[in-house]
């Protein structure tokens, strides 16, 4: 049996691990936001029939989407990728795993793909749900989906690289994200900012969503490409670095 076939059979276990170890946290985070949004509906002005007025819904949709996405995209991305390889390394669990005929980078590439796909599915479901509640236009929902998916892929790719390097992966990812945002606020328009990781673009696009403006796809594509670049660099690191220290 080839290594690829062995790993493919193990994919179900990796999916199971995502559900048991990570999905609960993601569902709680998203559930809290959706619950709060639901409460907001309860206090909204209603039509004589008791329904929230369509005008109100249209007005509130961008705000609601912005509120939900502005923090959840990074949380979901981090929950998908944090500790993905660092946990096995620091706990010594790599020993039994990688005495089997298995390539380290292939194992974690598959785990990352599964985690990111499932985590994105959770976030995208929430976006669709808000779109449904608020009867938002299809184009707006589509833009929101693109922003959410790009954010998760980009940030989790970065977290994956940090995980391949050291154990404090999510802390490092948040630190980079925070530092970049801070520098953009402090030095607006500075030319050198474009050499920084483009972690700020998701926030910019979420602001556009909040203002009911169409998003810019190009910066988001750059962020996705950056995330995939980090992911590839993470795989190279896993291939080259010793498992044991």
């Amino acid at each position: 049996m080839s290594g690829r076939a062995r790993l493919a059979r193990y994919a179900l276990w990796q999916g199971f691990d995502f559900v048991v170890e990570r999905a609960a946290a993601i569902v709680i985070v998203l559930g809290v936001y959706l619950y709060l949004a639901h409460l907001a509906f309860g206090s909204a002005p209603t039509t004589p029939g008791g329904a929230v007025s369509p005008a109100m819904l249209r007005a509130v949709a961008p705000l609601m989407m912005k509120n939900m996405l502005s923090t959840t995209w990074i949380m979901v991305g981090l929950l998908a990728a944090n500790g993905i390889s660092a946990n096995d390394r620091t706990t010594g669990r790599f020993r039994f795993l990688f005495s089997k005929p298995l390539r380290v980078e292939a194992y974690y590439a598959q785990a990352f793909t599964i985690n990111v796909v499932l985590a994105s599915a959770c976030l995208l479901s929430s976006v669709i749900l808000i779109g449904r509640w608020t009867s938002a236009p299809a184009a707006f929902v589509q833009d929101s989906l693109i922003v959410a998916a790009s954010g998760v892929v980009g940030i989790s790719g970065m977290c994956f690289l940090f995980s391949a390097i050291w154990r404090f992966d999510w802390v490092a990812t948040v630190a980079v994200w925070g530092a970049v945002n801070l520098l953009y606020v402090k030095y607006p328009g500075a030319a050198w900012l474009r050499f920084l990781p483009p972690t700020n673009v998701v926030g910019d696009q979420i602001d556009l969503l909040g203002a009911s403006l169409p998003i810019e796809v190009k910066p988001l594509l750059w962020f996705v490409a950056f995330g995939l670049l980090c992911f590839t660099a993470g795989l190279v690191t896993l291939r080259r670095r010793p498992l044991s220290t």
């Binding site: 059979r9 005495s99 089997k100 005929p101």
Partner: protein
């Protein structure tokens, strides 16, 4: 099959001095052999094993397993490995752990379940099959670790402290199992602090200390062969006779003496002389096995 060619490993931490864990090690482990590794704590055993599995690259020299770099061998063929630290996800259940690792090891779906159940039975784990690994005792976890190392019919088996935490019954069962695992095309490496165990199981034992190979002791077929060179004799009324009959005898207190002897004839002649001199013998036992003796010579009495 496993070759160390002038291998060195130096750890260079960010803070603190560099540590030379393995230095100038050259040895060959042949197919069909059970090979022991003995050494005091910090001798470099675990580093040697990590390099054999490709978990660590050597800083100097070269290691090959069947002609391949260790990591390449593992990725292509896999190795049966029991680590000193049984680190299995505490959330996994015992049987689930074996199923997962068997899947990664590439056992065909048709035989996987049967093989897992066979190993659960072999290591007395059936009653623990559905317990989470965090609920297992040290000994049970060790048996689970042993079971996972035997999931596949590997050509290289590396067992690091295999009887650590096992009760005497399971220790004995493990010792009975190892000869059954011996095969012409298989290497079994056992690292242990337990010299008696290595003497029973291994054909040869490498004694390492401070990262260097001190000597290789051939044990199989010789374990019961040469006479131990020191005996402990417990006797009453023998204090004044002992030094005269056994030159070099050293009192171990409370009527016991460690005596060096050249061979069994000298020992028996000396015992007859003791009895003739009015001493009452309580016991006579080998003071050290030959491996213990060699170990002490190699690493010093302070080890």
């Amino acid at each position: 099959m496993i070759r160390f060619d002038d291998v060195g490993k130096t750890y260079a931490p960010l803070r603190g001095p560099r540590v030379r864990a393995v230095d100038g090690m050259t040895l060959d482990v042949d197919a069909g052999e059970v090979f022991g590794i003995a050494g005091p704590n910090g001798a470099g055993k675990t580093t040697m094993i990590a390099m054999m599995l490709g978990f660590l690259p050597p800083s100097a020299g070269r290691i090959t397993v069947d002609g391949l770099a260790p990591r390449a061998f593992v990725e292509r063929h896999g190795m049966g490995y029991l680590s000193e630290l049984i680190a299995i996800n505490p959330r996994w259940r015992a049987r689930e752990s074996l199923v997962r690792l068997a899947t990664l090891a590439g056992l065909a779906a048709g035989v996987l379940g049967a093989r897992v159940d066979e190993l659960l039975a072999l290591f007395g784990l059936e009653e623990h099959a559905h317990k989470r690994t965090k609920q297992l005792s040290k000994g049970t976890l060790q048996r689970l670790g042993l079971a996972q190392s035997l999931l596949r019919d590997e050509r290289v088996l590396i067992l690091d402290e295999p009887t650590h935490g096992l009760d005497p019954i399971w220790t004995q069962r493990f010792r009975e199992l190892v000869p059954r695992l011996r095969r012409a095309d298989r290497v079994i490496v056992v690292a242990s602090h337990n010299l008696d165990e290595l003497e029973r199981l291994a054909d040869r034992v490498a004694i390492v200390d401070r990262g260097r190979l001190q000597r290789i002791v051939r044990t199989r077929g010789t374990a019961s062969g040469p006479t131990p060179t020191r005996y402990r004799i417990a006797a009453q009324n023998a204090d004044s006779l002992m030094a005269a009959i056994f030159p070099g005898a050293v009192s171990a207190g409370t009527g016991e003496f460690d005596v060096p002897v050249a061979d069994l004839a000298v020992l028996n002649a000396g015992l007859r002389a003791l009895l003739a001199g009015g001493a009452l013998l309580v016991s006579v036992s080998p003071a050290y096995s030959s491996l213990e003796e060699q170990f002490r010579q190699a690493v010093g009495e302070g080890a």
